[in-house]
Assembly symmetry: C2
Homo-oligomer: 318 residues x 2
C-alpha cells in the first residue's frame, strides 16, 4: 500500500506491506489524515518513533469482526491501545496503560497511509451529516474537551487560552461554549480575527493581565508557554498544560509554590462530545484548514504544517 514511512527521515512508499489484523481489530481505509504538532516533533526524533506517523484521521471500515456491525461505516478512532489486562486498563484508563501502543506515535503504524488497524473498541462511527474532512478534527477536539474533564468552569470563571494555533483555537471555542469568560492570547492578527469572528475576546499582549485569570491553558506548544501561564494566573488558580515540547525554557516553579497554583497536565480527551460539537457546528473548524495535500506530498505537508503560524494541514489519502 502507499504510506509515508519515518526512520530518521520521511519517505513516500508505494510498496509498504498491508497491516496485519489480530482478533478484535478493524482494518480501516483512511480518507483524510491531519498533521499535528506531535507529528512534526516525531520527525525531529520525539518518542524515538520509527514507522508510519499520523494519528488524526477519518476513514472507512473495510474489515472487522462480524459482530461489531462496523463494516462499511465511516469512523474516527481513539489513538491509545491499552493491554486490557493491567489495573489502569481495568479502571478505564487505557490512555495511561504502561504497555500501550499509540497510533503513529508509539509502536503502532499510523494514519499517513492507505490503511491502518485499530481495535474495534477504539472506533467511533461518525454521523452521515459530518464530512470526512471535518471529522479529522475529532482527535484534537477531544484533546480540547479534555480540559473540561479536568477543571471546573462556571459562568464567572475567567479563562485565558495561550496560543492561537490549531489547538488553541479549538480549546478557546470549547471553553467559550460553556459560557465562561475566555480570552485568547496569540501572535497572529489573522487568527485572532478568526476567533473574534466567533465572538471570542482576544489579545496580542499579556501586559496588564498578570494574575488575572482563574484558569490559564497553555496551548502554545512552545517552551515559554508555562512561564507565561504562571504570570497570568491568579494565586490559587489553575494552569492546564497542553504543550509537550522538546525544549522547555527554565520555569520558576517557586512561583507555583508561593502562589499555590495547580498545574494540570492534559493530553487526549473524549471523542463523543467532539463528534457532537463538529456535527452540530458548535465548534467551527473549516477556517482552521490551511491546505490539503495528497498523500504522496506528505513530506511537503509536514514541512508546511511546521511553518510558524501554520494552521491545520490535512492529507487526502482515500
Amino acid at each position: 500500500m502507499r504510506a509515508i514511512y519515518f526512520d530518521n527521515g520521511l519517505t513516500y512508499r508505494t510498496d509498504f506491506p498491508e497491516p496485519k489484523l489480530v482478533e478484535g481489530d478493524a482494518l480501516i481505509r483512511v480518507s483524510y489524515a491531519g498533521v499535528c504538532a506531535t507529528d512534526i516533533e516525531i520527525t525531529k526524533g520525539y518518542m524515538g518513533f520509527t514507522g508510519i506517523p499520523g494519528h488524526e484521521f477519518s476513514g472507512l471500515v473495510e474489515r472487522c469482526p462480524s459482530d461489531s456491525g462496523l463494516e462499511g461505516k465511516r469512523v474516527v478512532g481513539e489513538i491509545n491501545v491499552g493491554c486490557n489486562t493491567c489495573a489502569l486498563c481495568k479502571a478505564g484508563l487505557e490512555n495511561h496503560c504502561k504497555e500501550r501502543t499509540v497510533l503513529g506515535i508509539l509502536g503502532l503504524n499510523g494514519s499517513f497511509a492507505e490503511r491502518l488497524v485499530l481495535p474495534v473498541g477504539n472506533l467511533h462511527v461518525i454521523p452521515d451529516t459530518l464530512s470526512d474532512i471535518d471529522a479529522v478534527f475529532t482527535e484534537p477536539l477531544g484533546a480540547a474537551f479534555e480540559v473540561l474533564e479536568q477543571v471546573d468552569v462556571g459562568p464567572n470563571t475567567n479563562v485565558a487560552v495561550l496560543g492561537d494555533g490549531r489547538l488553541g483555537l479549538l480549546i478557546a471555542q470549547v471553553l467559550a461554549n460553556t459560557g465562561c469568560q475566555v480570552k485568547l492570547f496569540g501572535r497572529y492578527g489573522e487568527k485572532l480575527a478568526m476567533a473574534e469572528d466567533l465572538s471570542i475576546s482576544t489579545s496580542m499582549k499579556a501586559e496588564g493581565f498578570e494574575g488575572s485569570f482563574d484558569i490559564v491553558v497553555d496551548a502554545t506548544g512552545s517552551g515559554g508557554g508555562l512561564s507565561s501561564a504562571l504570570e497570568l494566573v491568579k494565586p490559587r488558580g489553575t494552569v492546564v498544560l497542553k504543550s509537550t515540547v522538546a525544549n522547555r525554557s527554565t520555569v520558576d516553579l517557586n512561583r507555583a509554590v508561593i502562589d499555590e497554583v495547580t498545574i494540570v497536565g492534559s493530553r487526549c480527551g473524549p471523542f463523543a462530545p467532539a463528534i457532537e460539537a463538529l456535527d452540530n457546528c458548535t465548534v467551527i473548524v473549516e477556517p482552521l484548514i490551511e491546505k490539503i495535500y495528497p498523500l504522496e506530498s506528505c513530506v511537503q505537508a509536514l514541512e508546511h504544517a511546521g511553518r510558524k503560524g501554520a494552521l491545520k494541514v490535512l492529507i487526502e489519502v482515500g
Copy 2:
C-alpha cells in the same frame, strides 16, 4: 532590643530599635523562634530580604488594642499580613495578597528578636497545656495541614512523602492520622526510624515504587524532588510541591502532560488544626528538636540548621 539583623550577612545587635505599632497591631515578646529552611535561603539572598529574619515563634502579648482581650496571652501568629482592601484579601486570601508583607521574609521584621509586631487578627492564643517550645511548630505544622486543604485523601489513598526533614516528618504524621496509606522516603536511617516509631512506613529507596502512588508530596527542599515525585506518582495522580528552591534541576514536564499529572503548589496553612494536633499530641514534635540556642548564638543556630540532615533548631529568646 536584642535582635539578629540580616543585610548581606547576619549580625547580633543589642541596640535594635523597638518595633513600632500601628492601629490593630499587637506587640509580642518572643519566647522561642524556630529556624526554617526559608530562613537559610534568605541568608543566601532569597527574596532579597533585609531586616530581622524568622517567622516561626511563640510569645507573649505585651501590648494590644484593649478590646482584643489578648494582653498577657501566650500566642502564635500567622505570618502573612494582607492589605485588607484588595479582592484577594476580601476573599480571605490575604496569604496571597500582592501587597502583603510576610514576617521575617518580606518587608516585616521577624521573630529572631526580643519583640515583634503583628496585627491582632494574625494571632492565635495557645492552650495552657501546650508548651512554648512545642507551639513553635504551629507554623510549619500548619503548612503540613495545608496539604489536606488541597487534596482529597481517603483510606485507600496511597501517599508518598519525599524527604525525611523537618517538614516531611510533620507532613507524614498529618497524612497518616487521616488513615490513608503513607510511605515516607528519606536518606537518614535515624529519622526514618523515628517515623517507624510513629507507625509510619518508610523506605530509603525509590526503586520498585515507580508509578505507585496516588499522591506524592515533595518535601525534599531540594531541586531534584519534583523529578523524583513525577517518577513515583501514578498516571492521573497528584504531586504536591512544597519545596521552594534557589536551583531546581531540569524537570521533564512532558511527563506530567503525557501522564496527566496534577502538580499542586502548597505553602502556608491553617493554624487551628495545627494547634489542636500539638495540644493533643496526635502530631509528635519533641523528637524533631535537634538543639536549642540562645538568641545571641543565632548565627551558629542558622549554620547548624543548614547542615545536611539537621532536624529542628530552635532559638530561645525570652
